[in-house]
């Protein structure tokens, strides 16, 4: 691949154009989970198709944690918002979340920020 060909995409105009073109589709596919979390594990053994569905409902101080949690076929639990970690236990995972997101779990209680799924409201540009 040639650098000059690709460099055309590095201009300011091109960058803004690509954001306008690509962002709507990425919003639809790249959205956080919401609600209970179901993990689906599938594999085949001796010709038999195995499906294991695991549901999680996690609360911290009574407030739901709603990101996407998954379980890999070797039984480890992972959470997409902390993408470089996996855990032997969902409890260990939630402890890590409390440490990793100090703005969501303030000190001695849960200061979960209001979490809207209703999209943006009109505002002015800063």
């Amino acid at each position: 691949m040639k650098r000059d060909e690709f460099a055309r995409d590095a201009t300011p105009d091109s960058l803004a154009e690509h954001v306008a073109r690509n962002a709507p589709a990425m919003q639809q596919t790249g959205h956080a989970h919401g609600g209970d979390m179901e993990s689906v594990r599938e594999t085949t053994y001796r010709g038999h198709h195995i499906v294991i569905r695991t549901s999680y409902h996690i609360e911290v101080d009574g407030v739901p944690v709603e990101g996407h949690l998954g379980v890999t076929n070797d039984g480890r639990v992972h959470y997409h918002v902390v993408p470089n970690l996996s855990f032997a236990s969902a409890v260990d995972l939630v402890k890590q979340l409390i440490d990793a997101f100090p703005d969501d779990f303030r000190q001695e209680g849960h200061a979960h920020e209001e979490h809207s799924h209703e999209g943006r409201s009109p505002g002015e540009e800063s």
Partner: protein, 342 residues
């Protein structure tokens, strides 16, 4: 979507460029180090039009800087499951595309740096973290990379070095977009966070950086990737990404994210300029593997459609440009080379 080689556009303005950019060790080249710091600060202050509204981020509409567009892209790619019916592989991680997608991201970022620095020969620096991994745990935390003339130290917020926070100075480094605990992008305005070598009771600890023997062990794997093309795979990609082996700590790339901690932990990890130093070193290790093994990549295009986004000629997830394919990322000699692959 069209891949890059199908496009026709006006030729870019001519700028002097004689050789591919040279990517250097950030600790051994002060010019590279200073330009990198200067460049990321320029991108952080550049606003080309996109706003939080373009990404459905709740609250008052704010402009998003060029630097922060890469933060948003990394997050969105991570939340794009491939295929959507499963929750392990995503469009940039936990599967074969991990290495070519991040090479794609780094090339685009490097091109932006070259533009704002007006230097078409500027190459991203890398942090050879395995060299620091040979130091004692205490020495790792005081490595020159964390010095005031390089990346600065740890803290909430970071208070030393070029990315130190100062509430009263809007020109200082600020985190403006991050992910909340539920995986929603949100606007914020705060200092950068780092928390080195956090020790925990479970396997999420990263008390020490990876060592050279661990890099060598990965490089000796002859297979790039293998079924089930996920975090359970054997092969070089999964070892370098850091999912195998799981004992005692996470592996190479993953452990560096976790060791640095703070803003390097969430899906918005490009908020920390150290992100690019880590991934440039990961890319360097892949470049060394390709040089010794040949330009091989799997899965092939004839693999199952459930691997769409990871096969050699699939369009990779793109936000800031047209997409490219993993195949197009196998030979990038026209873009850059490394000072050393050792």
């Amino acid at each position: 979507m069209p891949t890059r080689n199908t496009l026709t556009k006006d030729a870019p303005p001519e700028r002097s460029r004689k050789v591919a950019a040279l990517r250097r060790n950030i600790l051994s080249n002060s010019t590279s180090r200073q330009k990198y710091i200067q460049g990321v600060k320029l991108l952080k202050q550049e606003f080309l039009g996109p706003t939080t509204a373009d990404f459905g981020i709740a609250g008052t509409v704010r402009r998003i800087s060029t630097y922060d567009l890469f933060v948003v892209w990394h997050h969105l790619a991570m939340f794009t499951f491939t295929p959507p019916s499963q929750g392990d592989r995503n469009a940039a991680h936990r599967g074969p595309v991990f290495l070519p997608w991040h090479r794609f991201m780094l090339i685009l970022f490097e091109l932006q740096l070259q533009r704002v620095l007006n230097d078409d020969n500027f190459g991203l620096p890398y942090w050879d973290w395995a060299a620091d991994g040979e130091r004692s745990p205490d020495q790792q935390m005081t490595s020159p990379v964390w010095g005031t003339q390089c990346m600065g130290g740890q803290g909430n917020p970071v208070t030393t070095g070029p990315f130190a926070f100062n509430l009263a100075d809007p020109a200082r480094w600020r985190v403006r977009v991050d992910a909340d605990v539920n995986g929603q992008l949100r606007a914020t305005d705060r200092g950068l966070r780092r928390a080195f070598a956090q020790r925990r009771s479970d396997q999420s600890s990263a008390p020490v950086l990876p060592r050279r023997t661990e890099v060598t062990s990965a490089a000796n794997l002859s297979t790039y990737d293998a079924w089930p093309w996920s975090t359970a795979s054997s092969g070089f990609r999964n070892r370098l990404e850091g999912w195998q082996p799981v004992h005692p700590y996470s592996g190479l790339h993953n452990r560096v994210h976790v060791w640095v901690g703070g803003d390097m932990l969430p899906s918005s990890s490009p908020n920390d300029p150290v992100f690019y130093l880590n991934h440039c070193n990961v890319d360097r290790i892949w470049a060394a593997w390709l040089a010794s093994r040949g330009t091989t990549y799997v899965p092939s295009q004839s693999a199952s459609s459930t691997l769409r986004g990871h096969r050699i000629d699939d369009a990779m997830n793109a936000l800031l440009s047209d997409p490219v394919t993993p195949r197009q990322m196998l030979d990038v000699d026209d873009f850059y080379s490394y000072d050393t692959l050792a």
